[in-house]
C-alpha cells in the first residue's frame, strides 16, 4: 500500500480527461452553483409526484380561488382553485423533459450531419450546410411556430419542433470542429495505417467534437425550455390541464392585476431554470475550452 502511494505521488496525479475537466470546472464557482441547482431540479422533477403537497390537476378548492401564498399553499392558489406549488413541481418534469429530449434529439442528428459534412466535404457538405443556412435564416421561435403549425399542437410536437430548430446549430458546430481535426497529424497517421472512414470518424474525430457539443448542449437546453414554454404560452404546446409553466403563465394573465402571484411563480421557475442552464453552460465552456487553459 505504502509503496504504491509513493509511486503515484512521484508521477503526480494521473490525468484522465475526467479529472482534468473536474479540476478546471471546480474553479468556476458560478458554474458549480448552477450545476447544483440543475441537479436539485432534476431530483425534484423525478420526485415531483411524491413531494407535491397536492394533486396538480385534480385537487381544487373553490373557496380559495386566487388565494395569495399561505402556509397551506406556499405559492398560493390559481384561478381554478389548484395549488400552484404542486403544479410548478409537476411542471418541472415537463419543462426539463421537453428541454432534454428536444436538445438531445437535435444534438444527435445535428452532430451526425456535421461530422458527415465536415469529413467528406463536397456535395454532402454543400447540401447539408445550405439546408442548415435556410433553417438559420428563421428566428428560432418563428421556425418552431411554423413547425407546430404544420404538425399540430401538443407537447410531443413541440419537442419535435424544438429538436428540428436545434439541428442546424449542432451541425455547424460539429462540422467546424471536424474540419479542424481531420487535418491534424494524428488523423493522417490513423489514415496512413489503413483505418476506414467510419473508424476515423467515430474513434478519432467524434471524441474531439464532444466538448463543444456538451457546452452547446447545456446552453441550448435553456433556449429550448424557453421556446417550449413560449409555444405553450401561445396555446400551441401543452394542453390543459397539464401544469406546463408557459401554459400556467398564459392562464395567469387574466388575473394578473388582482392575483400577481399566479404569474410570478411560473415566471420565476422558467427564469431560474433557464438562467441555471446558461450559467452552467458558461462554466462548462470555460472548463472545457483548451484555449482558455490558464494552468
Amino acid at each position: 500500500m505504502n509503496d504504491r502511494a509513493t509511486l503515484v505521488a512521484d508521477v503526480e496525479v494521473i490525468r484522465t480527461p475526467w479529472n482534468e475537466f473536474w479540476r478546471k470546472f471546480k474553479r468556476q464557482k458560478i458554474g458549480v452553483v448552477a450545476g447544483i441547482f440543475v441537479v436539485v431540479l432534476v431530483a425534484i422533477a423525478i420526485a415531483a409526484p411524491w413531494i407535491a403537497p397536492y394533486d396538480a390537476e385534480n385537487y381544487f378548492d373553490y373557496d380559495q380561488l386566487n388565494a395569495a401564498p399561505s402556509m397551506a399553499h406556499w405559492f398560493g392558489v390559481d384561478a381554478l382553485g389548484r395549488d400552484i406549488l404542486s403544479r410548478i413541481l409537476m411542471g418541472a418534469r415537463i419543462s426539463l423533459a421537453a428541454g432534454f429530449v428536444s436538445v438531445a434529439a437535435g444534438a444527435v442528428v445535428g452532430t451526425l450531419l456535421g461530422l458527415v459534412a465536415g469529413y467528406y466535404e463536397g456535395w454532402a457538405d454543400r447540401i447539408i450546410m445550405r439546408i442548415a443556412d435556410v433553417l438559420f435564416a428563421f428566428p428560432g421561435i418563428l421556425l418552431a411556430i411554423g413547425i407546430v403549425a404544420i404538425l399540430g399542437g401538443g407537447e410531443a410536437n413541440v419537442i419535435v419542433a424544438v429538436a428540428i430548430f436545434s439541428i442546424p446549430t449542432f451541425a455547424r458546430l460539429a462540422r467546424g470542429t471536424t474540419l479542424g481535426l481531420k487535418r491534424l497529424t494524428f488523423v493522417e497517421a490513423v489514415r496512413s495505417i489503413g483505418a476506414t472512414n467510419w473508424t476515423i470518424i467515430s474513434r478519432h474525430i467524434f471524441p474531439g467534437t464532444v466538448p463543444a457539443v456538451i457546452v452547446y448542449f447545456s446552453l441550448r437546453i435553456g433556449t429550448s425550455i424557453i421556446t417550449a414554454a413560449s409555444l405553450s404560452f401561445l396555446g400551441m404546446g401543452a394542453q390543459p390541464p397539464t401544469p406546463e409553466w408557459g401554459a400556467m403563465l398564459d392562464a395567469a394573465r387574466a388575473d394578473m392585476l388582482t392575483a400577481p402571484h399566479e404569474a410570478i411563480f411560473p415566471a420565476l421557475a422558467i427564469f431560474a431554470t433557464v438562467l441555471a442552464f446558461n450559467l452552467l453552460g458558461d462554466g462548462l465552456r470555460d472548463a472545457l475550452d483548451p484555449r482558455l487553459d490558464r494552468r
Binding site: M256, L257, T258
Partner: protein, 514 residues
C-alpha cells in the same frame, strides 16, 4: 371724459380672455365609450354582432325598441293593429320626425327599408329575420301596411330587434351599397367619421324629435380590444364608459371612488350543448350525468368572479314566455350512478369545444374539464376562433360527420321573445348550417310547440305551448344549462343615463355629463 383708445382695447382683451376662461364651464360635452371589439359595419341590417348594432343606435332608431327591462316600447311607430288571420300588420307612425339629411320620416321610408332587407339580392346578413315579410305598402304618409307570408306572432319583436332600423331613403338612393360608410338615420346623433379600426365619432343632432335630447355633444366610440388597456383608460379618465368590464378586473375598478361599476341583469345564457346524434351523447343518461356533474355555483365564482347565476331554465328570465325552473342540481353521486347505468362506469374521452377564445371561455372550459374528470370523462379542449367556429360548427353541412360533441356557447334573444330563444337553438329544422342547433336536438313535441306558438295570436295559448316546449327540453337535456351572466359595465360618476340592456346593447339617449 375721455376714454383712451388703448385702454378700451385692453378692456376688450380682458373681456375676451374672461370669456375664453369661462368657456370650459359650459364646455362641449364630449364623451368616450371604450368597447371591446372593432365594429364590423354601421349597417344594422348587415351586422351579426350585438356591438355594431348597439353602436348604430347612435344614429339609427327602429319602429319599435326595448326599455331597460327588455319590455317592448314604440319608437318611430306609435301603435299597430294586426288582422285576425295574423297576416296583415298596420303600423301608425310618429309625426314630425326628420332624418339627419332633412328627409321626412314617413311610410315610404318604412317601405324602402323593409324592401331593401327582404330583397335577397342585397345579401344582407339579417335577411332571415325579415324574410317572413311578403310586401310593405304605404297607405298614407303615416300609415304603413305590412303583409306576411304566413302568420308569425313574434313579428313586432322582429321589428324591435336592434337590426330593424330606419335609414334615410334619400341616403340609400345616394350611397347604395356604400351606406355603411355614410349612415343617415333619425337618431339623437349624427355620424361624423369612422376611422377603422380605432374609433367612430358622432355628434349631437339638433333636429332630434325628442325635445331637449341629446344632452351631450359628441360620443367617440373607441375599440380597445385589450382588457387591461380598457380598464386603464377608465382609471385615467380617458374614457367615461366601458363595456364589457372583464370579471377579473371588476374588483380593481370597484375600488376607484370616481367610477361606478354596474352589474346589470342579462338575457345571455351560457350552456354546454351535447351532440345528441352521436355516441355516447345519444344516451339521455350520459347527458343528465354531465349536467349533474357540473357545479354551476362554483362555475359562476371561478369564471365569472361571481357575476353570474346558475341558469334557471332554458330561456333566461326577462325574455317573454320564459319559464323559470330550479337550476339543475350539482350531484356527483347521481352523476356517477347515471354513468354506470348508461354503461360507462369508467367514463370516456371526448372533445370539448368553445365558441369563443377569450379568457372567460378559457376558464369555463378548464373548469368543465376539471368537473367532468370527476365522473371519468376526459376532455380535450379546443377554443375555436371565429373563423374556425363558422367552419367547423356553424356551417358544417353533414350532421353525420359533424365533429362537435361538447360545445360551450351562449345566446341572447335580441327580440326579447321566446321564439328567437328556442327556434334557432332547439328546433328540429335548425341544425347547422341552417341555424344554431349545435346539439342536433330533435323532438317532435318541441317542434310542434314552436310551430304552433308562431301561428297562434292568442297569448294564453302561446304561453302554454312555450311552457310545454321548455319543460320537454329541460327533461330531454340536450344542453347542460350553465349560467346566466351579468353584464358588467363601468362609467365615470360624472356620466349619467348610460346603461347596458339585458341583451348587451346600450341605451344612451338620455346620457348627460356633469
Amino acid at each position: 371724459m375721455k376714454f383712451p383708445l388703448h385702454r378700451f382695447a385692453a378692456a376688450l382683451a380682458v373681456a375676451a380672455v374672461a370669456a375664453l376662461a369661462a368657456l370650459p364651464a359650459q364646455a362641449a360635452k364630449d364623451v368616450v365609450f371604450a368597447v371591446a371589439s372593432t365594429f364590423t359595419t354601421t349597417d344594422p341590417y348587415d351586422a351579426n354582432d350585438t356591438l355594431s348594432q348597439a353602436m348604430a343606435k347612435s344614429f339609427y332608431e327602429g319602429l319599435y325598441g326595448f326599455d331597460k327591462d327588455m319590455k317592448m316600447i314604440p319608437v318611430l311607430a306609435t301603435s299597430y293593429e294586426v288582422s285576425s288571420d295574423g297576416l296583415v300588420y298596420t303600423l301608425h307612425l310618429r309625426h314630425g320626425v326628420k332624418f339627419h339629411d332633412g328627409t321626412d320620416f314617413n311610410a315610404e321610408a318604412v317601405k324602402v327599408n323593409l324592401d331593401r332587407v327582404t330583397n335577397p339580392d342585397n345579401h344582407l346578413k339579417r335577411y332571415g329575420l325579415y324574410s317572413v315579410i311578403a310586401k310593405t305598402e304605404a297607405v298614407d304618409p303615416y300609415t304603413a301596411r305590412i303583409t306576411l307570408k304566413n302568420p308569425f306572432s313574434a313579428f313586432i319583436n322582429d321589428l324591435a330587434h336592434p337590426s330593424g332600423v330606419m335609414i334615410s331613403p334619400a341616403a340609400i338612393q345616394k350611397y347604395g351599397k356604400e351606406i355603411a360608410f355614410h349612415p343617415v338615420g333619425t337618431g339623437p346623433f349624427e355620424f361624423v367619421e369612422w376611422k377603422q379600426p380605432d374609433y367612430l365619432k358622432v355628434k349631437k343632432f339638433a333636429g332630434y324629435w325628442q325635445k331637449g335630447l341629446p344632452k351631450i355633444d359628441t360620443i367617440t366610440w373607441r375599440s380597445v380590444v385589450d382588457n387591461n388597456a380598457r380598464a386603464a383608460m377608465m382609471q385615467t379618465g380617458e374614457a367615461q364608459f366601458t363595456f364589457p368590464v372583464p370579471y377579473e378586473i371588476a374588483d380593481v375598478l370597484k375600488k376607484k371612488p370616481d367610477l361606478a361599476l354596474v352589474a346589470a341583469p342579462s338575457i345571455v345564457i351560457r350552456y354546454l350543448s351535447m351532440n345528441t346524434q352521436q355516441k355516447p351523447f345519444d344516451n339521455v343518461k350520459v347527458r343528465e350525468a354531465i349536467a349533474y356533474a357540473i357545479n354551476k355555483q362554483a362555475l359562476a365564482k371561478v369564471a365569472f368572479n361571481g357575476y353570474a347565476e346558475p341558469a334557471a331554465g332554458v330561456v333566461p328570465q326577462g325574455v317573454e314566455y320564459a319559464v323559470k325552473m330550479a337550476p339543475w342540481p350539482y350531484d356527483l353521486a347521481k352523476a356517477k350512478a347515471l354513468m354506470k347505468e348508461a354503461g360507462y362506469p369508467d367514463g370516456f374521452e371526448t372533445e370539448l369545444w368553445s365558441a369563443y377564445n377569450h379568457t372567460t371561455a378559457q376558464k369555463v372550459t378548464q373548469f368543465i374539464q376539471q368537473q367532468l374528470q370527476q365522473i371519468g370523462i376526459r376532455t380535450r379542449i379546443t377554443l375555436l376562433e371565429s373563423g374556425q367556429r363558422v367552419q367547423r360548427v356553424e356551417s358544417w353541412q353533414d350532421p353525420k360527420t359533424a365533429g362537435v360533441r361538447l360545445y360551450y356557447v351562449g345566446w341572447s334573444s335580441s327580440t326579447g321573445e321566446a321564439d328567437w330563444a328556442l327556434r334557432p337553438l332547439l328546433y328540429g329544422e335548425s341544425w347547422p348550417p341552417t341555424l344554431f342547433n349545435t346539439a342536433y336536438y330533435k323532438s317532435d313535441k318541441v317542434d310542434a310547440d314552436i310551430k304552433g306558438a308562431l301561428l297562434t295570436t292568442d297569448s294564453k295559448e302561446k304561453a302554454r305551448l312555450y311552457k310545454d316546449a321548455q319543460e320537454t327540453i329541460w327533461h330531454d337535456a340536450p344542453w347542460a344549462p350553465l349560467v346566466v351572466e351579468k353584464l358588467l359595465s363601468a362609467n365615470s360618476k360624472k356620466l349619467t343615463g348610460v346603461y347596458v340592456m339585458p341583451d348587451a346593447s346600450f341605451n344612451f339617449t338620455n346620457a348627460d355629463l356633469k
